[in-house]
Symmetry: C2
Subunit: 226 residues, 2 copies
């Protein structure tokens, strides 16, 4: 008997690897989708490929979108420095990429429609990144509403669900639950400025939040640092 | 005094050229955004460039998104033929590109956020293409709601508007109003399978709808056919 299909947005980082494991646990054939969007840390994409294979994704596609043409973020504009001085509550950091999650979910929606997938799994997390507007539950709910107005299957009364299962989890909980599902976090890359071999800087906000997560989970941090 | 800014999605076709003229008439600095998405009819992008210059766009950017990686449409998959046998009411045609307008609007949203633009102009038309789910007013309204949950300016209480001014206009009305604003439709390309010089096939649905529009407007059809 065929399992239902889901599309999983997979960045190669810790959060989306966990979400891929959750999609598999939930009984879906998980079709991973990564986006090459001009990010500095392209080592993430190599990590995504390893993670997709490791966690038994049914497929893995990479879509190219040149967000550098739009600019406006430290992650896609070499003239803006990656901050290393901490997340400020209530302030949107310069690592925010304008409309990135809207764009990624739109691509996932197109992929889901072609595959006939029932769900989109999205690794947004509102706890560590409270400054990113497109990581909040209201955003996810609005995208699901849009998705069902935008597509054939929504029109035909067979709605797609957009889920963000770790949106309110702490980094420690994400790691604890992922380890229980067999996720090997040594394969993942979270650093905003990882080197070509995927080694982390240890200084950027993403590195610090990740390290704090392993501390909170009380487990060894398998990250390779430069 | 600075005029407010708007982002205009510009395909190079008849509809979006008219919308660019409407944005200018409405008093906006119009920043045109085109998408190279693997469409067969890349002559449209050359047309977009001509139209942007002709109508005085403040800027024109082209973003690359490889929707061929997702497949599923006659416009992006060479194995699916472009239909020439007419639009069937209530049936979504194979020229529908999954989630295309969601993806385009998401890119426009990112561009608008970087520019600080107040509006996104979107040339959807529900009359001629009633089979496309993402050309309906409810879809546009849902995207506007999403946009204001997704972005800094929405969070900060300065909402962006997403407008589709020709959504309920007939092709004849679009042409009539565009001509009154000085649009030169000879610069535009609508054909789904135009040749490299932008000459139209005259047979596809898009060509037929366009020709019927010039007939309805009672004006000469300036389209160059093969």
């Amino acid at each position: 008997m065929n399992r239902p299909a889901a599309v999983v947005l997979l960045s190669g980082g810790l959060d989306s690897a966990t979400v891929l494991a959750l999609a598999r646990r939930d009984g879906f054939d998980a079709h991973a989708l990564s986006v090459r969007y001009g990010q500095r840390h392209s080592a993430e994409l190599a990590a995504a490929e390893r993670v997709a294979a490791h966690l038994g994704a049914a497929s893995h596609r990479v879509v190219d979108v040149d967000l550098r043409a739009l600019g406006g973020s430290a992650l896609t504009d070499d003239r803006i420095a990656v901050p290393v001085d901490g997340v400020v509550p209530g302030v949107i950091p310069v690592t925010y990429v304008p409309a990135r999650n809207t764009i990624f979910l739109a691509l996932a929606l197109g992929h889901a429609e072609v595959l006939g997938a029932d769900r989109i799994y999205f690794g947004a997390n509102a706890v560590d990144y409270s400054g990113y507007p497109d990581c909040r539950p209201a955003f996810v709910a609005a995208f699901e509403a849009l998705a069902n107005l935008a597509t054939r299957r929504g029109v035909e009364g067979d709605p797609i669900r957009v889920v963000a299962p770790i949106i309110d989890w702490s980094k420690g909980r994400i790691i604890t639950e992922g380890l229980a599902l067999g996720v090997d976090y040594a394969l993942t890359v979270s650093c905003y400025q990882a080197d070509a071999e995927g080694r982390a800087c240890g200084a950027c906000d993403s590195c610090r939040l990740r390290r704090e997560g392993f501390d909170a989970a009380g487990v060894h941090d398998p990250t390779r640092y430069v």
